[in-house]
């Protein structure tokens, strides 16, 4: 049975921007939330989201009719986000206090009793960020998708187009390296 979304994707594939608008309205807020969680910067997240929709528009002729639109869009978004973040070297930029406050307001779990004070949070985040800088790009990708998008190993393999074994080994190596780096920093 054809759903409304199927109809919209078919019309959008034929070049109807209004049908694509319906798809955008349905999915952009979720895509933006996912991008913001990955990159922690609103302007960049907006750029990533819009870029992902533009790529989706271009790639619609290759979209398999009948399959759900959101997983396909999210795959494009994750790939695009990882590319943009690597290119713009986002991980090399320390997070400012101002951004941190905005970020805390965004998150649901911002109650003060559960978390230490802001300065300590910044220090802990900075330690992780500095450790992430020392990983290679592929390791950063798997870490971002595992912890920043909550994907399973097989989902990461599907998004990145790697075998599941490769994802597992890269994830393990990345964790090992991070552990070593964080322990070294503590010593």
């Amino acid at each position: 049975m054809a759903t409304c979304e199927d109809e919209y994707t078919q019309r959008a594939t034929a070049g109807d921007p209004e049908a694509f608008r319906c798809l955008w309205e349905e999915h952009h807020a979720v895509a933006m939330a996912a991008a913001l969680r990955l990159c922690h910067a609103r302007a960049l997240a907006e750029e990533i989201t819009q870029g992902a929709f533009l790529l989706a528009w271009r790639g619609l002729p290759r979209f398999q009719p009948g399959s759900p639109f959101r997983p396909w869009l999210m795959r494009i978004l994750y790939l695009h986000a990882l590319d943009v973040m690597e290119k713009q070297k986002v991980h090399k930029q320390p997070l400012s206090l101002e951004e941190m406050v905005v970020w805390e307001q965004q998150t649901v779990l911002s109650d003060e009793a559960a978390m230490p004070d802001m300065q300590e949070k910044i220090v802990r985040r900075e330690e992780i960020r500095q450790a992430l800088v020392k990983l290679n790009a592929d390791q950063r990708r798997v870490i971002a998708l595992r912890y920043g998008a909550d994907l399973t190993e097989s989902e990461i393999a599907h998004v990145l187009g790697w075998p599941v074994g490769t994802v597992k080994s890269r994830l393990n190596r990345a964790r090992e390296r991070l552990r070593t780096l964080l322990m070294e920093e503590r010593v």
């Binding site: 921007p17 807020a29 750029e47 790529l55 965004q106 998150t107 649901v108 909550d150």
Partner: protein, 284 residues
């Protein structure tokens, strides 16, 4: 006892790392709706792309065949932001040039204030767009168009309409410099009177070439602006230059063989840039 303590610590570290990484990315965020203007922006890109395709299919067959190789390709791994690729292809289409985003190379640099564009003589002769990293503000459409169009115009003027005289000038300058440097030890050793006029002549050639390069560079920059006005229209070029000036710390400053923003605006738009008090500290 110590071993037991070590394994316990390692187990703690493992759990700790997972927690810290989860805390670093934070919990799943609630939906983040974008303002309605975002759709308008996106829509303008969709329309442009669609009309590009339509125009392609309405082209005479001969031109269509030539352009077929250069049709926009979907690239998920492309590091150039998609809206920049689209803007570039749109300008190339308006200028009736068979260029695609493949020609464009995007570099992010930390210590630059404003975005710029370069075309080098060497390598693959790509147009290199240099953007500040991280991109703290979105580029205005007119600003982006001016940057891309100036890169495209420089490429066209430098490689397609004229033989690369600039390259010849550069080679002459380097040859003179090398010859002068080689003359110094020779003159030092032999004290030959003939060497002095040769050195003077080389120095004069070098000086002439440097001055000529500077003047030609400025003339070239004005020609680039003229071509840009032809493609984008004067008002859009003015808007773009004004946007660049707003974010420039030194609008009056010009490099070797370059034109300052103030001069460009004066020439293209016929208006002057207000003198900025760059280092003004108010003390109460």
């Amino acid at each position: 006892m110590n071993e037991w303590n070590t394994s316990e610590t390692e187990r703690d570290e493992r759990g700790n790392l997972e927690d810290r990484l989860s805390a670093y990315y934070g919990p799943t965020l609630p939906e983040q709706p974008l303002p309605p203007t975002s759709w308008v922006q996106l829509r303008s890109h969709l329309r442009r792309q669609h009309s590009l395709r339509q125009r392609f299919f309405h082209m005479p067959k001969r031109r269509r065949r030539v352009r077929f190789k250069h049709l926009p390709r979907v690239s998920y791994g492309g590091a150039i932001p998609v809206y920049i690729q689209d803007a570039f292809e749109s300008i190339a289409h308006e200028a009736q040039l068979p260029y695609t985003a493949d020609m464009l190379h995007c570099t992010f640099k930390k210590q630059i204030g404003i975005p710029s564009v370069r075309v080098s003589y060497w390598g693959k002769r790509k147009i290199r767009l240099i953007l500040p990293a991280p991109l703290s503000r979105p580029l205005e459409p007119a600003e982006l168009n001016v940057l891309l169009a100036s890169g495209l115009a420089s490429h066209v003027l430098r490689f397609e309409r004229k033989p690369p005289y600039g390259l010849v000038r550069m080679l002459v300058i380097w040859a003179c410099l090398v010859a002068l440097l080689m003359l110094i030890p020779i003159g030092w050793q032999y004290f030959d009177a003939k060497i002095f006029p040769i050195a003077m002549m080389l120095f004069a050639i070098l000086l002439c070439m440097v001055v000529l390069s500077h003047l030609k560079g400025r003339k070239f920059a004005f020609r680039v602006d003229a071509l840009m006005v032809q493609w984008l229209g004067r008002s859009q070029v003015c808007q773009g230059l004004q946007a660049l000036v707003r974010h420039s710390r030194h609008p009056q400053r010009k490099g070797f063989g370059q034109v300052s923003f103030a001069e460009r605006i004066e020439r293209v738009c016929g208006t002057r840039v207000a003198a900025q008090s760059e280092r003004l500290t108010l003390v109460h």
